[in-house]
């Protein structure tokens, strides 16, 4: 009997033991896409660059290749296929400089760039030989984003990303009765007016066309204009008033059925971009910014887009470039970084590639003077008479990114969960905010709730 008990105990503990070992293995096969590697990483002089999409690669393949054909040959590009998996793929490699794919340089998104510039993984740009004079024309908020807590600049950005609403001209004509940018801007001047406009569109179209695809279209305008971050200098979690405002407005939009309640980037969200608002659902406006226009809008928006400022100045996204601590060739790293983020001609060439709003005031003036990119890569509605670069010029001025924290990507995602729970009526606002604080503390135990 004793023997039997022992055998049963052993078998059971073995089975249960698989719990601990099986879990990390399972994580591997989750839906993460494979890395897409272009170039020969095993070459002796290879220079590895990481990004989560082919944004950087397109610039390397285009203007950079033209300017530095020999250096271009050495570049190996690793595309991880999505910003959301980026950190979990990148971090282990950064801890292992002997890895063939160890990045010499990498792209870092605004929502987590602070994590990397405050880590031991990246070099300060001064160590690469890039001086303050080199990036004198950069927008200040981008410099703040790329600086560590001591103010050393460690990542530089090639684009500025002032937020706007992209309005579809044909639907605006039909349901709001105007395609005049100034008149449309009035319709988006504050949150109350936006809700009223949403009602107007909903009533005029019988619900087939809505102002926004989902209430989260207003999210970035509120999170991107917060005055305080998700925690203060003592690591105590703080919730900005804008978060409350966002949740409340989201609930209004949900309760009054003023959007299609989709999630940003979902398939339904994309489908609403191409609807006609009569037979198929269509959204009249999307949260936008310079890269959003050329990167995300569907063909229905070609020659059909009017830009309207967000109710408060905000920014959305952006990519910082940083060289790693064990970068094999700091000279090339500096060359690429300068071309992308400091060199006027380089940045004019980047703009020529896709109409991006570059992070260099002198280059922007040059572009405006030359009259290029006026039509926003072909997306702007000609009759509205807008000029793409001139439209963003005032919006890019005075942006503030001081509230961005290293954990923003995950915290914003936790906020989405609570916003949805509140909007759909699962819980009240105070519970949602308390649950948000608790979940932030649970994910990052070094941030305190009290």
């Amino acid at each position: 009997m004793k023997k039997k008990m022992v055998s049963v105990l052993l078998t059971a503990s073995m089975l249960a033991g698989m719990t601990l070992c099986a879990v990390p293995v399972m994580a591997e096969d989750a839906e993460t896409p494979e890395n897409e590697v272009t170039g020969d990483a095993s070459a002796d002089d290879s220079f590895v660059v990481w990004g989560w999409n082919d944004d950087i690669k397109k610039i390397l393949d285009g203007p950079f290749k033209e300017a530095y054909p020999d250096d271009y040959e050495r570049i190996v590009f690793v595309n991880t296929g999505g910003s959301d998996y980026y950190q979990s793929k990148l971090d282990p490699v950064l801890d292992d400089p002997s890895n063939e794919l160890y990045p010499d340089m990498m792209g870092l998104e605004v929502d987590y760039v602070q994590k990397y510039v405050n880590s031991d993984w990246v070099q300060s740009v001064a160590d690469l030989g890039i001086t303050a004079d080199d990036y004198a024309n950069s927008y200040q908020y981008n410099l703040d984003l790329g600086s560590d807590v001591d103010g050393n600049v460690r990542a530089l950005f090639w684009q500025a990303t002032p937020g706007c609403y992209a309005v579809r001209a044909d639907l605006a004509e039909k349901y709001l009765g105007t395609t005049d940018p100034a008149a449309l801007a009035e319709k988006f001047k504050d949150l109350d007016t936006i809700v009223a406009t949403a009602k107007e569109v909903n009533d005029a179209s019988g619900g087939k066309c809505k102002l926004f695809s989902g209430y989260d279209e207003i999210k970035r305008s509120l999170t991107g204009s917060r005055t305080q971050g998700f925690y203060d200098e003592n690591d105590k979690i703080t919730i900005d008033d804008n978060i409350k405002t966002y949740m409340e407005t989201a609930k209004t939009l949900y309760d009054e059925d003023l959007t299609f309640n989709t999630d940003q980037w979902s398939a339904d969200w994309s489908a609403n971009m191409s609807g006609d608002g009569v037979d198929s659902n269509a959204a009249l406006a999307y949260m936008g910014c310079p890269w959003f226009v050329y990167w995300s809008l569907s063909d229905a928006w070609k020659g059909n887009t009017i830009l309207v400022p967000t109710q408060t100045k905000c920014y959305w996204g952006g990519t910082g470039l940083a060289a790693t601590t064990d970068c094999a060739d700091t000279e090339l790293a500096a060359k690429i970084m300068k071309f992308f983020t400091c060199d006027e001609d380089g940045m004019v060439a980047i703009n020529a590639l896709n109409s991006d709003y570059v992070n260099n005031t002198a280059a922007v003036s040059k572009i405006i003077e030359a009259g290029t990119s006026a039509d926003g890569n072909g997306y702007l509605y000609p009759d509205a008479g807008q000029n793409f670069m001139e439209f963003f010029l005032p919006l890019a001025d005075g942006l503030d990114a001081s509230m961005v924290t290293a954990e923003d990507q995950q915290i914003l995602s936790l906020m989405d969960t609570q916003t949805k729970a509140y909007a759909t009526g699962e819980k009240d606002l105070d519970t949602a905010l308390a649950d948000l604080t608790a979940s932030i503390h649970d994910t990052f135990s070094y941030l305190s709730a009290e």
Binding site: S88, D95, Q410
Partner: protein, 326 residues
């Protein structure tokens, strides 16, 4: 005589060689990580900005995850509840449907045609990978997915109903997916169980005029008990570690939060989520899951293997008692 004895010992040694690979693998890849996990669970071990912070914390992680310290919430308990609810809603229908199918497909009187094809068809869902199944179900049942729309058109669902933002809807769908993926497997197991029953018993029952239900109730069911318990044990252990479907089905792109409102997050998802930021806490949750699984397995093993033993021992005892008296 001596020579012979030596030879026998030699033979015995080969046996150990043959089982050695298993034990070596077990020690290196299972027991060692297991011990390590216990060690990590006693550390305050987290990452911040790429740097690791590690110090001894005793049982603090356990106190924290069970919500027993001020300012901490017992997320483990709510995720355990999520896991058990979704597992239960999948297992109960699974065993019922499988039982029904197993009995029908093996019944001599019903003589279902094409049982071979049926067996293949019910097994097919478990061949597809979890990732594809989640994507398939998600697109079918998304807010504007074909099934949701059809059900709305028929008036079965309210105009604003969305499976993905309804707790019951999301949990129900995850249970349905698990049921759909695993009932074929269980059916095959039960069929082999039914086929293992002596046909003579059924014949005898037929001669005595037993109805189908009576045969099922008094012959099939009691004799299937061991195999059903086996199914229960494996399913319970798998269920507690439920990960792939909920982790892929209704989660935001950034991470393992089971939407809506964290109500479809399982224990294993929680471990993986913490693993990226707080290793110590992740290890503590793993240990809790380990203990729960161990207890559940022990209980089930004990009831499964010993009932026959106990009965026989009791009889022996009684016989001995009776013998002593005479």
């Amino acid at each position: 005589m001596n020579k012979k004895k030596k030879k026998m010992i030699d033979y015995g040694r080969y046996g150990y060689f043959f089982i050695a690979p298993f034990f070596i693998t077990y020690l290196v890849f299972q027991l060692w990580p297991l011990i390590n996990t216990f060690y990590y669970s006693t550390l305050s071990y987290y990452k911040r900005n790429g740097r690791e912070f590690m110090e001894f914390a005793g049982l603090q992680n356990f106190v924290n995850i069970l919500g027993m310290a001020a300012g901490e919430r017992g997320y483990v308990l709510s995720y355990l509840k999520n896991t058990l609810v979704m597992w239960g809603c999948n297992f109960v229908p699974q065993i019922l449907v499988s039982l029904l199918l197993a009995v029908w497909l093996t019944d001599e009187k019903v003589k279902v045609k094409g049982t071979g094809a049926m067996k293949v068809i019910v097994y097919l869902p478990s061949v597809i990978t979890a990732a594809s199944v989640s994507v398939l179900f998600k697109s079918l049942f998304s807010q504007y997915g074909p099934i949701t729309q059809t059900l709305k058109d028929w008036g079965v669902l309210g105009k604003n109903f969305d499976f993905m933002s309804s707790v019951a809807g999301s949990r129900g769908l995850i249970s349905t997916i698990l049921w759909w993926m695993w009932f074929g497997n269980t059916t095959l197991l039960l069929i082999s169980g039914v086929l293992g029953i002596d046909p003579g018993l059924f014949e005898a029952a037929d001669i005595d005029g037993a109805t189908g239900w009576k045969k099922f109730r008094y012959i099939t069911l009691p004799l299937l008990k061991p195999i059903m318990l086996y199914t229960l044990v494996t399913s319970a252990i798998g269920g507690l570690q439920m990960y792939d479907i909920p982790a892929l089905f209704n989660v935001p792109e950034t991470g393992l939060v089971g939407l809506p409102d964290d109500k479809t997050t399982t224990m294993a998802m929680y471990i993986m989520r913490l693993y990226n930021s707080d290793v110590g806490k992740a290890a503590a949750v793993s240990v809790v899951l380990f203990i729960i699984t161990l207890v559940v397995s022990l209980i089930l093993f004990a009831t499964m293997s010993d009932s026959e033993d106990r009965r026989m021992k009791k009889e022996q005892k009684q016989r001995r008692k009776a013998g002593g008296r005479s």
